[in-house]
């Protein structure tokens, strides 16, 4: 009988192969030094740190990886990828898992995270760049939390971090990109 909570890792799982191929990364090269997690600006909010995510991929723990908050909290800032001593593009590997999670309709660990990404893309498609005010308002309305983040609004406005009106720039090019991807 298997011990409660025990996992049975597989040295060469389909999941490991998939992530490796999709991201073009040699996941087994990772020796778990933890430099990625140490530098990650959003690791504090992840259930699996980037190192643990790579370990989960190594062990073939697909379910754990797909339902983790890590794939959604990662902002693809590439700090981990740039610093990795064995040259694994960790952000890219995490992206591969994120794409798989969407394709397999895995339940996302973060509430409304899919909505956020959709609104984000719409905003970019509409203005050709990110329109923060539009994104915030639309996300708050659609997620039915209209007042979330209102407390920092005055400060951001005062410091000029938030433009009231959108700036349209390169709309045509961005539209072309969207069109190509949708095709």
């Amino acid at each position: 009988m298997q011990m409660a909570g025990a996992i049975t890792p597989v040295a060469s799982s389909e999941f490991l192969d998939y992530v490796g191929k999709q991201s073009g990364q040699r996941i087994m090269d990772c020796y778990q030094c933890g430099k990625c997690s140490a530098g990650c600006p959003t690791a504090y909010d992840m259930d699996l740190t980037p190192r643990q995510m790579i370990r989960a991929i190594q062990l073939g723990l697909k379910e754990e990886a797909l339902k983790s908050s890590t794939i959604w909290m990662c902002v693809s800032c590439q700090t981990c990828s740039v610093r990795c001593p064995v040259q694994i593009d960790i952000a890219k590997a995490i992206e591969a898992v994120r794409l798989l999670a969407v394709a397999e309709k895995a339940p996302a660990a973060e509430k409304n995270v899919k909505l956020y990404h959709q609104v984000f893309l719409k905003s970019v498609e509409f203005t050709g760049r990110l329109y923060e005010m539009g994104l915030s308002v639309a996300f708050n309305m659609l997620s039915r939390h209209p007042f979330t983040g209102m407390d920092i609004l005055p400060t951001m406005l005062r410091k000029g971090k938030l433009a009231l009106m959108p700036v349209f720039k390169g709309t045509a090019e961005v539209e072309a990109i969207f069109a190509r991807i949708k095709r």
Partner: protein, 665 residues
């Protein structure tokens, strides 16, 4: 009249940081018969030494006290210094104010200073009564004894012999080759072990300067550096190796099968056997524990129990009549100038670990057993088949640190070679079967060494081995599978792997019988029975017994390149010794006053070196006399001598009393 010079060393801040040097020098200046006292930043430096030489000349000093570190560190240095200024080197004493004072009293500078002054006072009292001593010269026997025929011993023997000295190599097994001969391949190059070892074994056997004694053991060692007298027990092989041609008929026909020690119980051998095909010498021995005829002979004495068959097949078929049931054990007495001890190691016996099956699960094997299974000359012809049912394992779990880094079983040390051989096993298993899945549990991966880290990575990248950080807690059987339980401490989850074969990376242990040998040779061993070198960094192959050198895994866990290097290093030291025509002996030996001697010969009883001898005087009395070449100056006889007839040159009772007396003046 003594004219004593005292030299107080700062040793950088080692002494000066604690002891008040100025006060110490002032105090020394006032001591009886001291005519000069000075301090130096580093007395052992060239500047410090030449200051001593100059002072000896300038102030006409005839006695010197160096107040510095332990005499074990620099006694010889300063003896040479005073000798080069024309003084007898034994008219110099050291006051140890570093190890015995500043290092241990760093918390109390006042007391340390007063203790330093006392220590110097003692040395001054002693040096006043020093007598000039002259070393005796003894001849050198330019032959070396090498104990152990593994790769270390082979290397040492070849190096010494190639330098032109005679060598006797003693190996207790029937063949030389040692642990290395059991290996299939070697890390990190995956060289075939036999291919690089057997040429050396053959070189050794054919070397005109080397006498090879297998199935032999060192029985006793007497004498001293340059002139050891060693008794070697040549065990009875029951086969006359002069007549035997090694044709092999006997071991093909012998009807008795027993577990092969060489194959670690993975295969069988006969009662008359050579341990392995490339054995050197390639001539068999009879194992008296299993031989049917020997059993019959034992039965014939008592006639108890069932009568064993009176086999003697080997004797009947031997074409040269080499079987000799009456062959006696022989004791050979040989003289040597130097001895190299290279007794190697054995692997940890995992049967004490109940959680890993206690040695009762056939498919839980040791790394060395896996080597035998993978070896083309092994019991399976190189096919990896698990012992229980001969199936080819598809999932193999390797468990590190079995018998290493474990306080519970008295093995707290790291065996050093296992991480690398685990990586090697992973790569080799994958070469044997590309479908195989390998899991390696580890606590830390320690692959320090040239090309070692790359090799470890190769086990992951090429062999796809999954290294799991965690110690296995339990192995149990479930049907045909072995369930291995551990934790992946990197992801923080318990792990269970159903395996077909489990390989335990058993650690390195000192060889059996090494304690007895160490006592015979008068060298030290540590609490794990590894031999102790004279200095772990600066004298790695010497011991505290002059002329006895240690090398290889007998000193601690070592891999092949290191063992070869140490074998060569021990050989170099031995060659340096053997190339001298004569040796100077330490003149600090015991001397008997024949007038006081009452002929009780208590000194003969206590001396560990056999130095006291008897001499008949002209008045007819027989008294004790010390053989200076055997005496080590240990002082045991002086304590035992009831009439106080014995004294130690350089450490006379008068000197010791003067030292003590100086403390209450």
């Amino acid at each position: 009249m003594a004219r004593i010079g005292v030299f107080v060393c700062h040793c950088g801040s080692n002494i000066a940081g604690v002891v008040d040097i100025n006060r110490t020098v002032e105090a020394a200046r006032k001591m009886p018969q001291v005519v000069y006292a000075a301090d130096a930043k580093y007395t052992c430096s060239e500047a410090g030494q030449s200051a001593i030489r100059d002072a000896i000349k300038q102030h006409r000093l005839n006695r010197v006290v160096v107040s510095a570190c332990s005499p074990r560190m620099h006694e010889n240095t300063f003896r040479r210094t005073v000798a080069s200024a024309g003084l007898n080197p034994y008219l110099m004493e050291i006051a140890n104010i570093r190890e015995h004072c500043s290092w241990v009293h760093g918390d109390n500078k006042e007391a340390a200073t007063s203790k330093a002054i006392d220590l110097i006072g003692m040395a001054v009292a002693k040096v006043t009564r020093d007598e000039p001593l002259t070393p005796k010269r003894v001849s050198m026997t330019p032959r070396a004894l090498v104990i152990g025929g593994g790769i270390t011993g082979i290397q040492a023997a070849l190096d010494i012999a190639n330098a032109g000295h005679e060598v006797v190599l003693v190996e207790r097994e029937p063949s030389i080759g040692g642990r290395m001969s059991q290996l299939d391949k070697t890390f990190p190059t995956l060289d075939c072990s036999a291919c690089i070892l057997t040429p050396k074994m053959v070189d050794l056997a054919q070397h005109p300067k080397i006498t090879l004694l297998t199935s032999a053991e060192v029985k006793s060692v007497n004498g001293f550096v340059g002139n050891f007298e060693v008794e070697i027990r040549q065990k009875s092989r029951l086969v006359d190796h002069v007549k035997c041609t090694g044709c092999g008929t006997c071991w093909q026909k012998c009807p008795e099968n027993v577990n092969s020690e060489f194959d670690m119980g993975m295969g069988k051998r006969k009662s008359i056997y050579i341990p392995f095909a490339q054995a050197v010498p390639n001539k068999p021995v009879i194992d008296t524990a299993s031989c049917r005829y020997i059993k019959y002979l034992k039965w014939a004495e008592t006639k108890e129990g069932k009568k064993p068959p009176e086999c003697r097949i080997c004797e009947k078929i031997c074409p040269t009549g080499a079987i000799d049931w009456e062959q006696p054990e022989q004791i050979l007495t040989e003289k040597f100038g130097a001895i190299v001890v290279a007794t190697g190691f054995k692997t940890f016996d995992h049967s004490v670990l109940g959680e890993y099956g206690g040695g009762r699960i056939p498919d839980v094997i040791s790394g060395l057993q896996l080597e035998r299974l993978m070896s083309a000359s092994g019991p399976t012809g190189g096919e990896v088949k698990r012992p229980s049912d001969g199936a080819h394992p598809k999932t193999v779990v390797i468990v590190s640190c079995v018998g290493s880094r474990d306080d519970r079983i008295g093995r707290p040390y790291c065996s050093k070679i296992c991480c690398m051989y685990n990586a090697k096993h992973a790569i080799m298993l994958k070469e044997h079967d590309p479908e195989i899945q390998i899991y390696i549990f580890y606590i830390d991966v320690r692959t320090g060494g040239k090309d070692f880290e790359e090799f470890y990575r190769r086990s992951q990248q090429e062999a796809g081995a999954l290294w799991i950080r965690g110690r296995v807690s339990k192995i149990h059987r479930e049907g045909k599978k072995l369930i291995v339980r551990g934790e992946d401490s990197l992801i923080g989850r318990p792990v269970e792997i159903p395996a077909d074969l489990v390989v335990l990376a058993t650690g390195v242990e000192a060889s059996d019988g090494v304690v007895g040998l160490a006592q015979t040779l008068n060298i030290s061993h540590d609490s794990y029975n590894f031999l102790v070198e004279a200095h772990p960094k600066l004298r790695p192959v010497e011991t505290h017994t002059d002329g006895v050198f240690v090398a290889g895994a007998a000193v601690g866990p070592r891999d092949i390149p290191e063992s070869v290097a140490h074998g060569g290093a021990a050989a170099a030291k031995a060659i340096g010794l053997l190339s001298k025509e004569e040796l100077a002996t330490d003149p600090m030996t015991a001397i008997v006053d024949p007038v006081k001697c009452v002929s009780c010969f208590a000194c003969h009883e206590v001396c560990p070196f056999g130095a006291p001898e008897k001499e008949t005087l002209r008045d007819g009395r027989t008294v004790s006399v010390i053989n200076e070449s055997k005496c080590k100056g240990c002082g045991l006889c002086i304590v035992a001598c009831r009439p106080g007839a014995i004294n130690l040159r350089g450490f006379t009772s008068q000197q010791v009393l003067a030292e003590v007396t100086s403390l209450w003046r």
